[in-house]
């Protein structure tokens, strides 16, 4: 009984480990690669940072055998193989390999030996290059140099911060006021208005993009911070109002009533009592909205404009980089990681609130 139990537990943990590896290795690969040199990334996989056996030249070369032809097997040191096989390298036993470099007549034979290696050659050059907007000189393997323009992700990072912080706080403020109004005030149309909020929870935001873009063009809000804050606020409000209403309407009635009896106004009760008491709910939604805005691509693409490079946020710059430099993995990996640092830090720092918010949340449109 005990043995089967232990075996079952081993199976559970084994499967769990495999899943966890599947989920984390892609991100790990990106992180490792972002610190590897450009030429290393092109030549060897990031997993070669782990100790592995590799064929390394011993420096010893041999003369070519006489009278060889392309079609017949060639024998070297008693081992026969075709020319094409020799070019790929042939195992000679004794942990050595011989490889034919150069062509049939004028090549040479190099002796390789298998050794344990780990490519631990790391650099922060990739980050320097993507972060700054300066020109950057690269050394190519053949000795020439290439000058490239840096990608100025610092600018995009600042834009992301400037877009995200107000686009997180403004909807929370508006939603908290509204939630309090719905929960503790009596006014005509209260019920139907809240039903509209609930109905808007799942409306896909695509529905709004065409008309709102027209308004923005007319009001000259396109490409402005105010425009994008308001857009994120508008699209985040249904969920924010709904979540905060659920929380604020559940606050103990006695506390608020005693404040009203003391003559406090709604505004005072809201600022002095309700906001401080609602901090857990506010924090939960804040994390949601923060991650949502920071990671958003579509809304910024439309309202910040593709043409205006100065206003682009990180996601837009990275998506553009994928298009322009799809094979420059040393830059793409570093750039992607720059965009992930903040949300991952927020996530690990405030995971508890985040999970609590998820539980309270329903479906967002």
């Amino acid at each position: 009984m005990n043995r089967t139990k232990r075996r079952a537990l081993l199976l559970v943990n084994g499967i769990l480990l495999i899943i966890v590896l599947l989920w984390t290795v892609p991100t790990l690969g990106l992180l490792v690669s972002s610190f590897r040199e450009r030429n290393d990334i092109q030549r060897s996989g990031w997993w070669t940072i782990f100790p592995h056996q590799e064929w390394v030249s011993t420096g010893e070369t041999r003369p070519l055998p006489e009278g060889q032809t392309r079609d017949l097997p060639i024998t070297i040191d008693g081992v026969s193989a075709s020319y094409d096989e020799w070019r790929e390298g042939v195992d000679m036993g004794n942990n050595t390999q011989i490889i034919w470099t150069g062509n049939l007549r004028a090549g040479n034979l190099t002796v390789l030996q298998q050794e344990w290696r780990a490519n631990l050659n790391f650099t922060t050059d990739n980050y320097n290059q993507v972060l700054s907007g300066r020109e950057y000189v690269l050394n190519n393997p053949d000795g020439t140099t290439t000058t490239v323009q840096g990608d100025n992700l610092v600018g995009a990072f600042l834009n992301s911060v400037t877009v995200t912080i107000p686009a997180t706080i403004i909807p929370i403020l508006l939603a908290a006021f509204a939630a309090y109004g719905f929960a503790w005030m009596n006014f005509p149309g209260r019920r139907i208005l809240f039903i509209i909020v609930v109905a808007l929870l799942v409306v896909p935001l695509q529905i709004a993009l065409i008309p709102i873009l027209r308004d923005y063009v007319a009001l000259e809000l396109n490409g402005t911070y105010l425009g994008i804050w308001l857009a994120h606020t508008g699209f985040g409000l249904p969920l924010a109002t709904y979540l905060l209403y659920n929380y604020i309407s559940g606050l103990p009635r006695e506390i608020l009533e005693s404040a009203f009896i003391d003559g406090a106004s709604h505004f005072t009760v809201f600022v002095r009592l309700v906001l401080p008491l609602s901090i857990p709910a506010l924090a939960s939604f804040a994390i949601f909205q923060f991650l949502w805005v920071w990671n958003d691509y579509l809304i910024s693409l439309i309202f910040l404009g593709i043409g205006n490079r100065d206003a682009q946020v990180l996601t837009m710059r990275i998506a553009a980089l994928v298009g322009q430099r799809g094979q420059d993995w040393h830059l793409l990996t570093a750039a992607a990681f720059v965009s992930m640092v903040v949300p991952i830090a927020v996530f690990f720092g405030l995971q508890r609130y985040f999970v609590r918010g998820l539980m309270a949340g329903s479906v967002k449109g």
Binding site: I15, I19, V20, T24, P26, G29, Q42, S44, G45, L158, N159, T162, P166, I169, I170, L173, F177, A178, M185, F187, R190, R191, V198, L200, L201, V203, P204, I210, P211, I212, D215, W229, T233, G234, P238, T241, A259, G263, A264, S265, H266, F267, T268, R272, L291, Y297, T315, I318, A319, V322, L332, A336, P343, I344, F347, L358, M359, S362, V363, G365
Partner: protein
């Protein structure tokens, strides 16, 4: 409390009201000045960032503050009537501008041509449902919906149940949950790297080449399976969310219930199908609808990884292309309306649940 007095000696004074209205105007002037400064200034970007955050957040708070001051200085009867407007009004105004009214405006636009000049009736809808590329997009979205949702919920269920029995529950769940913090654009880069054609770069092709097979261009040439490889990216992103909800629901099942079943000789499979699943049905429904809506609107992943080429077109990308690349407002609007219609069942369900739950 120091503000006990504010209300009790609130007798109406026109002078106070005038001062409050001046304050409201001052705040508006300050906000407008800030807007012009942000739009036209060439100042250092760090300064701009600080100023913008201060202006935006401070401005909204100041508006509420002076707005309330203004209302409290009104004659009492008016003041009581205007208070809800101050609290609920701003949120409702934005909801109306950004979501409620655009629904009607988009519906209207969907009956007009490219420039919204000429009425074309149902022609846009006809094109949406007959064009080859749209059929491809619909087919792919259905694939996303069915395969993506099944895999996400399947993995989430499996992980939740396994983790529940493991010592490493917290670490494992935390790591699987982590992709939730990563943007879809970032995830697109991560997985493009994994799928890269060069076996010295892409992990998948490294495994393939190591086992003696030819590397494949997974995202472009391996059709129609390339859609599946894109869907896996979404599964990777969303499983954490589904897992957290499902795991909490499973923990909510009373232990006595499970113990009783075990004493009666039920095996783990029976416990899973007869006790766990029925007990978490509500949560499963929430998770499934959320993931379905997510797949319906999928945009970033496809846009970054294939741009909708190689047979991977989806509705979200079509909408963007028609609206922006092709400047085809009517057609784009029709696509948006189709998306809206697709979520109406969920909307109706939400409203029903809301009505059932409480006398508001």
């Amino acid at each position: 409390m120091e503000n006990i007095k504010t209300r009790s000696d609130n007798t109406f004074s026109p002078f106070d009201l005038a001062i409050a209205s001046v304050l409201v105007l001052v705040v508006f002037a300050f906000l407008y000045g800030g807007f012009i400064f942000l739009r036209d200034s060439g100042a250092n970007q760090v300064i701009i960032a600080f100023f913008a955050i201060f202006w935006g957040v401070g401005g909204v708070a100041a508006l509420f503050y002076v707005g309330n001051m203004f209302i409290e200085k009104m004659p009492h009867q008016w003041s009581a009537r205007m208070q809800p407007v101050l609290f609920v009004g701003p949120a409702l105004a934005l909801l109306a501008w950004y979501l409620a009214v655009p629904t009607v405006r988009t519906l209207y636009l969907s009956f007009f041509d490219n420039n919204s000049q000429n009425f074309v009736g149902l022609k846009n809808y006809e094109a949406v449902f007959t064009e080859r590329i749209m059929i491809e997009a619909f087919t792919n979205n259905i694939m996303w919906m069915v395969v993506g949702t099944t895999l996400t919920v399947g993995f989430a269920l499996m992980i939740a149940i396994l983790a529940d029995r493991s010592k490493f529950e917290r670490v494992a769940k935390s790591l699987i949950f982590l992709p939730m913090a990563i943007s879809m654009v970032g995830a697109g880069v991560i997985w493009k790297f994994v799928y890269d054609f060069n076996p010295d770069i892409g992990m998948v092709n490294a495994v393939v080449a190591n086992s003696g097979n030819e590397p494949q261009a997974w995202l472009s040439l391996v059709q129609p399976w390339n859609n599946l490889f894109l869907i896996l990216v979404m599964v990777w992103l969303q499983t954490g969310y589904a897992m957290v909800l499902i795991s909490a629901a499973i923990k909510g099942i009373p232990d006595e219930l499970l113990e009783a079943a075990r004493v009666d000789g039920a095996n783990e499979v029976t416990i899973f199908t007869r006790i766990i699943i029925p007990n978490i049905a509500g949560t499963l429904l929430t998770v499934i609808t959320t993931v379905i809506i997510f797949t319906l609107k999928i945009f970033d992943v496809v846009m970054v990884m294939t741009g909708g080429q190689f047979g991977t077109e989806v509705i979200g990308v079509r909408f963007y292309r028609e609206m922006f690349t092709n400047g085809n407002a009517g057609y784009g609007a029709a696509i948006a309306i189709v998306l809206l219609i697709a979520v109406i069942p969920v909307m109706v369900y939400n409203l029903r649940e809301f009505n059932k739950r409480r006398a508001f």
